[in-house]
Amino acid sequence: MQSRPKKLMLIDDNEIDLKINAKLINLANLFQEIIICRSGEEALDFLNKYLSTPELLPDFILLDIQMPEMDGFEFLEHYKDFPEKRPVAMLSSTLDFGDIKRAEANPYVIKLLKKPLSPSELEVLISR
């Protein structure tokens, strides 16, 4: 088997979705480790904390859009200044074309994935 990326960072405020998606990804065996962050702030703190130890940083980020206080787009605004950037996919139940366009126009976002998360869709993305 091809070496799979090691660490995924999952940013979502919804406890249930975190649980479902973490489990789905584990069952599909897509990553070796999942870093769970319950807000954009928590994710930024994590990234900044391990800036000097890049081996501890995630290889891929799955980012929810609708979150209280700092939403997905605001997170990306801060992420822009982060020196060790990794690919980001947004994850949302949105059907709003505005959100979809806005997400895919962002240079750090490779795709907007729709909830419910499909492991095979994610697999295609990370193998690119």
């Binding site: 789905l24 139940s93 909830k115």
Partner: protein, 359 residues
């Protein structure tokens, strides 16, 4: 019931007239008087005047000139012109440019002037009432749209979690572990999700028509088939696209229209039919796009053909949301498109759509 005092401004360069006016009407109205157009303007700036009466013949500024000068700044008060003599030209000018409600000849008759002021005030009230009603309606409509939008979003998030859990159950091999309960949960969740998506489509269709964008029918139809045939791989699609000229139109609405029709063509197949077929033809010229979508599905009863585009119509046997074709029709109305349908129970259904090319 005591009616609130009507605020009347009277402008005349003759002090005697101002006094006489005050003497006659001060009991009925709240009277403001001004000796010149400039003085009158000062009062307008400070008092919310409802009816203005101005003498035509004044030094510096005539009554009509004054009315003309305030058409933009004070459009609401109703204007009455007083003329000492019959000056046809001044009157024509007044009616054409000064937005005059009525003219009265001098010397005025108290009863006539009184009636005119009363009528002018009624006109003022209707104008303001209508404007308030319009604003209220726009606000209500806006709120309703926002409400539908946010409800659809808030409802959908937890529903999508439920669908995610069902997917997880499948992956863990538990789908058949409790009889058909999981399957039932999945069916109900998908149905609810479908309703929410239709509600959102309807909401978006209510918004204004977007700027026309380039539509590549070949790509669009491919995408839509992929999206809707995802859950049903049995149906054979034959697609022929004849697009040699560019087409411009409202991509979102065209997507909604074709998406609903393609999804229906897949959904309403005969269960017993071994060769389920959907045929899509698109022909684009400089004037319009002609799209035919036909299937060999279950067809539509003749007596239902009239009703299929009405909101919440559904047949007894195969219920959808009763919204799909209604949304198609509404979306077509918004972009000046047309739709025709022919169907029979033996051979299936054909929808013919025409959409003008915005170029």
């Amino acid at each position: 019931m005591k009616t609130p005092a009507v605020r009347v401004l009277y402008i005349d360069d003759e002090e005697n007239n101002l006094q006489a006016f005050k003497a006659s009407f001060r009991r009925q109205y709240e009277i403001y008087t001004a000796i010149s157009a400039a003085e009158g303007l000062k009062i307008l700036q400070n008092v919310d005047i409802q009816v203005i009466i101005a003498d035509q013949k004044m030094p510096n500024t005539t009554g009509v000139e004054f009315f003309k000068s305030i058409t933009q700044t004070y459009p609401d008060p109703i204007r009455i012109l007083l003329t000492g003599y019959t000056d046809i030209e001044a009157l024509a000018d007044a009616i054409n440019h000064g937005d005059i409600y009525r003219y009265i000849t001098k010397p005025w008759n108290d009863l006539e002037l009184h009636n005119s002021i009363k009528n002018a005030y009624d006109a003022y009230r209707s104008k303001i009432d209508l404007r308030n009603k319009m604003a209220e309606l726009e606000k209500t409509n806006d709120e309703l749209n926002r409400f539908i939008y946010s409800i659809s979003h808030e409802l959908r998030a937890p529903l999508v979690s439920v669908i995610g859990i069902v997917n997880l159950v499948k992956m863990e091999g538990l789908y058949h572990s409790s009889g058909d309960y999981w399957e039932l949960i999945e069916t109900c969740s998908s149905k609810l999700d479908y309703y929410i998506q239709k509600t959102l489509q309807y909401y978006k269709n209510n918004k204004n028509v977007a700027e026309p964008t380039v539509v590549d029918f070949d790509q669009l139809i491919k995408d839509l088939i992929e999206m809707y045939a995802h859950s049903n791989k049995e149906t054979q699609f034959t697609v022929s696209i004849d697009q040699s000229v560019p087409f411009k139109g409202d991509l979102f609405r065209i997507e909604v229209i074709l998406g609903n029709l393609i999804s229906n063509a897949i959904k309403y197949q005969k269960v017993s039919e071994p060769n389920k077929k959907v045929n899509i033809e698109v022909e684009v010229n400089r004037e319009q796009a002609q799209i035919n979508i036909s299937d060999n599905g279950m067809g539509i009863l003749n007596e239902h053909l009239e009703k299929i585009f009405t909101q919440f119509f559904k047949s007894k046997v195969h219920h959808g949301s009763g919204l799909g074709l209604f949304i198609v029709k509404e979306a077509l109305n918004r972009i000046d498109g047309r739709i025709a349908v022919s169907s029979d129970i033996d051979h299936g259904t054909t929808f013919k759509i025409t959409i003008p090319n915005a170029k």
